[in-house]
């Protein structure tokens, strides 16, 4: 994983000093509220319903155990003893005091962390697949490119005041897309061309929110070394021509649509022609230098522990279920990828206490070379666990609350903080998630249903990614009352699609029954091999409509 050198350290330290100065000037009245606003946002600080909220950056989801322990300490010393994993692989604190934030940032800097550009109209944290570097089907490890983008986008002097926020995601697997790249402002798919050269397929103009769109391709193959100059060309076109008159039409997707993907691509290519050979063009050495930080840990030379695992599974059904659902194949024989689910019923999805953060740190040190990854599904991954120690790990997880074997099932719900915490929300989301989790508490039934993504957002801003849930739930406000609109058929994978709205919305207490009816339709209509999404795509929305509104 990336380690700061003296340059990174110096810039983060200077940033902390700068924000300390800015906070003091804001408190002293030298900076008006609207002048301080983008400065604090670009340091992760929102002012929310009940208190400020600080969004801490976890670059492409990677965390070391020392960083987890520091986060735990910060939640204890400056907050209420818990934190929240977000849907963009970051971490949020819900209760920091404004005047403490510079101190929190200084504490983060000591462990090579920051809150830079986690909010505001700038380039945000670049995200990727949580299985990067350990899965067998990826073309190359995407994380070095994420780090290269992180450095390029950090304090970029030209792009600190874009029309709107800007999110980039990178994916390197041909089969899966756990990074949801086609729903980002820029989605980069790592590919090899016919000559075997490495490069990127460039998608631009995806996004959720008020106007959900799946990003079209604007360039089929961008050579590796041209990554940053091409990004700079896209950003420059957006910075100059993106709409600034209407916040709801300011994302790049609106510009791409207005110009058409082809028209937009032509503008980018014309800009790029001027700068493609500029000093921003990457060099093989620069890429290799960053790649050197993402080498393999000291794996043992192991064989797959197939016999041992078979025996353990036979003897322990719950372990068998967990293995089947929460453990994935590793590229290295004898190792496995373990997802810890932060989705225990009764706990808001993604919430962790200070103690749990420390437990995760201990698990990382003991089982996975001291590193973890945060997923956009708000779970945590131990990427390098020895197969012969899986049982031992699993036995520890249950009491900690991370062992719920529901990964990718109906109750592995993606959920924003919603009206309980967020000032933007129209409705609460956490109680809906909990009510659904309580209704569907039979694991065997969940497994039988197979992969279903249920995503809940408390408002149009779609932090809970409701548009791309197999089942999406959106909180809406009807004359001051909280209601919930359902959409079906969304996906954030390579086959990305935006869910279709089922019909009129429902009151909160109706939600578990409504979801049950939707599931009924699936169970009745499916063929043996079909997932929920397959069935939906085959039969369409009408059978669901008829049942739910009967």
């Amino acid at each position: 994983m990336y380690v700061y050198d003296e340059h990174d350290r110096q810039m983060v330290a200077e940033r902390v000093a700068q924000f300390r100065d800015q906070t003091q000037r804001a408190l002293a009245g030298e900076l008006a509220e609207d002048e301080f606003l983008p400065l604090r946002l670009q340091n992760g600080l929102y002012v929310q319903r009940l208190a400020p909220m600080l969004r801490i950056c976890v670059p492409y989801g990677m965390l070391r155990s020392v960083q987890l322990r520091r986060l735990a300490r910060i939640t204890r010393d400056y907050d209420k003893g818990y934190a929240h994993f977000t849907t963009r692989q970051n971490v949020q604190l819900n209760w920091p005091a404004l005047e403490d934030v510079p101190d929190i940032l200084a504490e983060l800097a000591e462990v090579e962390m920051h809150a830079n550009q986690t909010s505001g109209n700038c380039i945000r944290n670049t995200t990727t697949d949580q299985f990067a570097g350990v899965q067998s089907d990826e073309i190359t490890d995407p994380r070095p490119y994420c780090e290269i983008i992180r450095q390029w986008s950090t304090f970029h002097p030209e792009f600190a005041f874009l029309p709107r926020k800007f999110k980039v995601a990178v994916n390197a697997s041909e089969q899966t897309d756990r990074a949801a790249i086609r729903l980002h402002d820029i989605g980069l798919q790592i590919v090899r061309n016919d000559a075997g050269d490495l490069g990127f397929r460039v998608h631009v103009g995806g996004g959720l929110g008020r106007t959900p769109m799946v990003a079209p391709v604007i360039r089929e193959f961008l050579p590796e070394l041209d990554l940053l100059t091409y990004l700079e060309a896209i950003l420059r076109v957006y910075n100059r021509y993106g709409r600034r008159d209407n916040k709801f039409k300011a994302r790049i997707k609106i510009l791409v649509k207005a110009l058409t993907p082809q028209g937009f691509a032509e503008k980018v290519e014309a800009e790029w022609a001027h700068i493609r050979d500029s000093p921003t063009r990457l060099t093989p050495e620069a890429i290799q230098r960053i790649q050197a930080y993402f080498t393999e840990p000291a794996y043992g030379e192991l064989d797959n522990a197939s016999d041992l695992l078979a025996q353990q599974r036979f003897e322990n059904r719950a372990f068998d279920q967990w293995l089947q659902h929460n453990v994935d194949t590793h590229k290295k024989p004898g190792y496995a990828i373990v997802s810890l689910t932060m989705k225990k019923t009764g706990t808001p999805p993604g919430d962790v206490t200070d103690k749990q953060l420390e437990q995760i740190a201990d698990l990382a040190d003991e089982f996975s070379f001291g590193e973890v990854r945060v997923t956009h599904q708000q779970n945590v991954v131990l990427a390098d666990v020895r197969q012969d120690r899986l049982l031992e790990l699993w036995q520890l997880l249950g009491p900690m609350g991370f062992g719920t074997a529901n990964l990718n099932t109906l109750t592995d719900i993606i959920c924003c903080p919603g009206g309980d915490f967020c000032a933007l929300a129209n409705a609460k989301s956490i109680p809906v998630a909990e009510a659904i989790q309580r209704r569907f508490d039979n694991l065997d039934f969940l497994y039988d249903l197979g992969e279903i993504n249920l995503n809940i957002s408390g408002c149009m801003n779609a932090c809970g990614h409701h548009h791309v849930g197999s089942i999406g739930v959106l909180g809406v406000d009807k004359k001051g009352q909280e209601f919930y609109q359902i959409s079906l058929g969304g996906s954030s994978q390579h086959d990305a699609s935006i869910g279709k709205i089922l019909g009129p919305s429902f009151a909160r207490d109706e939600m578990p029954d409504v979801i049950a009816k939707i599931i009924d339709v699936y169970v009745n209509k499916r063929t043996a091999e079909e997932t929920f999404l397959d069935t939906y795509r085959r039969v369409g929305i009408d059978p669901f409509k008829e049942r739910v509104y009967a």
């Binding site: 340059h7 450095q151 030209e158 000093p279």
Partner: protein, 168 residues
């Protein structure tokens, strides 16, 4: 007239007055005996008349296209770029284009809603003078211009992004 900040942080007396765009049907009102910055498109329209006059410069608004002056930029002693609101970031791109694409070598000035916390970004994008909004403390400008001792990117101020400096 408010003072002007140079890129080294020193403060100087402002010599230039910004002439607003005239209303439709009105003509440009250039003051006598003053150095004046006029809208760039109007300078271009009257280039025959203005070119070579050391007391006439131009200004761009944030939605203007600097491309209109391609090939002529160095005929101007000063080009200013207006920030109608500090959060309107288009001026940064305009500055880089003027410097890096059109090879502008003379004074590039930031005008309008110019605050302290954006000065270093402006400097990196090629602005070399800054007309700070009058209610801001001009004594803090020198510090704000140099808050960061380095950056990751190549920009107008350096051809060496950090990845190239690290390699050397």
């Amino acid at each position: 007239m408010p003072d002007i900040i140079f890129r080294d942080g020193t403060v100087h007396q402002n010599q230039w007055v910004v002439v607003p765009r005239p209303d439709a049907g009105e003509s440009l009102d250039i003051p006598e005996n003053r150095r004046a910055l006029i809208p760039a498109d109007l300078w271009l329209a009257g280039r025959e008349h203005f070119v070579g006059k050391a007391h006439i410069g131009v200004w761009f608004d944030s939605h203007d296209e600097p491309e209109i002056l391609a090939g002529h930029v160095n005929e101007l002693p000063v080009i200013a770029v207006n920030f109608p609101k500090f959060s309107d970031g288009r001026g940064y791109s305009i500055a880089r284009l003027l410097r890096e694409r059109f090879g502008y070598d003379n004074e590039l000035r930031a005008i309008g809603d110019v605050l302290l916390d954006q000065l270093q970004f402006m400097k990196r994008c090629g602005f070399d003078t800054y007309e700070l909004r009058p209610d801001k403390d001009i004594r803090k400008a020198a510090g704000a211009l140099n808050f960061f001792s380095q950056g990751y990117q190549a920009a107008t101020d350096t051809d060496l992004p950090l990845f190239r400096r690290r390699a050397s």
